[in-house]
Symmetry: C2
Subunit: 200 residues, 2 copies
């Protein structure tokens, strides 16, 4: 390589970003050093700052700068409902939809033995403790409808069985705007088997 | 948004990377904070370090930590040949091929009026001065075979006309491994019009 050493090091470092290979890293390094040094500075400092500030909410496990996050701290949320999601992005999507006023638990991933992510890494013991200590009436499992999300959900369902807590999951079927001819067999299957009576 | 402030700032900052939109930035921020804090640290420091260290070679305009880069400084290169490329990545590709022993000039982009990149931004005045002051016999234009690359190349050709310097460009035609049925009309066109006699 003919790059100066600190450019090589930068290219190497950028490859630690998810989905970024050698070519993208090279393009990014070029962009940062040649076209947007202000942006580069901004990224460097934003990372440094976030690493210092961001931790996990002691209750729901979501990212938080304070011991408890704003949602867990709010008195306006319905503390009898607990929605379990995989990531902060999922929580955000539900908040944006504006249909849920309860609390959350954020797993920060899903069960993935190949990546060494087991129940401990997801803080599932913490989730169980939370259920045992709080007055939760309903747990809503809102993991992704993927293999991993389902495995994670099933694992939690088993743990809740003996606890006499109502456990629900999100409905499955056609998404809004869904056109039947483009739906996969799995979705159509669910939509048929969970069809709802609308008359009589 | 329910994100802590320093997470939002990080997501915003990551969007300054080329090709990274809000969703990718969110995924990256999650990955850095939840899965790879070491990597995050590494990226932050690599950027900071590179911003401090990396400048341009005063002769060829490539990235360099020293006033002159290693290639310009080398006594083993053929100083009578000057290859003009768009980016350090292009230079690297030529070095990897190992067929060229001359010197380079790196434009760090191509003419792109829409992005406010004109001859000044590409240091073309510096390239002209270099040609006037050094004993260059041949200038090899190795810009990309794109509209912008061609416009840049044409612009330089015009400037060299009065200088009595031999100007060449890279050959055009079928790439190695190229299959005719998958070649675009432009490439086939070039390959036909620049066909070479192999006998008689």
């Amino acid at each position: 390589m003919t790059d100066p050493r600190s450019v090589s090091i930068l290219r190497e470092a950028l490859q630690r970003l998810p989905g970024i290979g050698p070519k993208s890293a090279q393009r990014m390094a070029f962009h940062l050093l040649e076209r947007d040094r202000d942006g580069a500075q901004q990224i460097s400092e934003a990372i440094r700052h976030a690493l210092l500030k961001v931790n996990h909410c002691e209750r729901c496990n979501n990212f938080s700068e304070t011991p408890r996050c704003a949602i867990c701290d709010s008195s306006r949320r319905d503390a009898s409902r607990l929605c379990v999601v995989e990531t902060p992005a999922d929580l955000e999507a539900i908040e944006q939809a504006g249909i849920y006023q309860g609390l959350y638990f954020v797993l920060m991933g899903n069960l993935s033995p190949l990546d060494d992510i087991g129940p401990d890494q997801l803080g599932i013991d913490h989730l169980v403790k939370l259920v045992d200590n709080e007055e939760i009436e309903e747990m809503i499992l809102a993991t992704n409808l993927t293999m991993e999300g389902q495995a994670t959900s099933d694992f939690i369902v088993d743990l809740m069985e003996s606890r006499g807590i109502k456990v629900t999951r999100l409905a499955r079927g056609l998404p809004m705007g869904g056109e039947l001819e483009y739906m996969d067999p799995g979705t159509l299957n669910q939509a048929f088997s969970e069809r709802k009576s609308i008359q009589g």
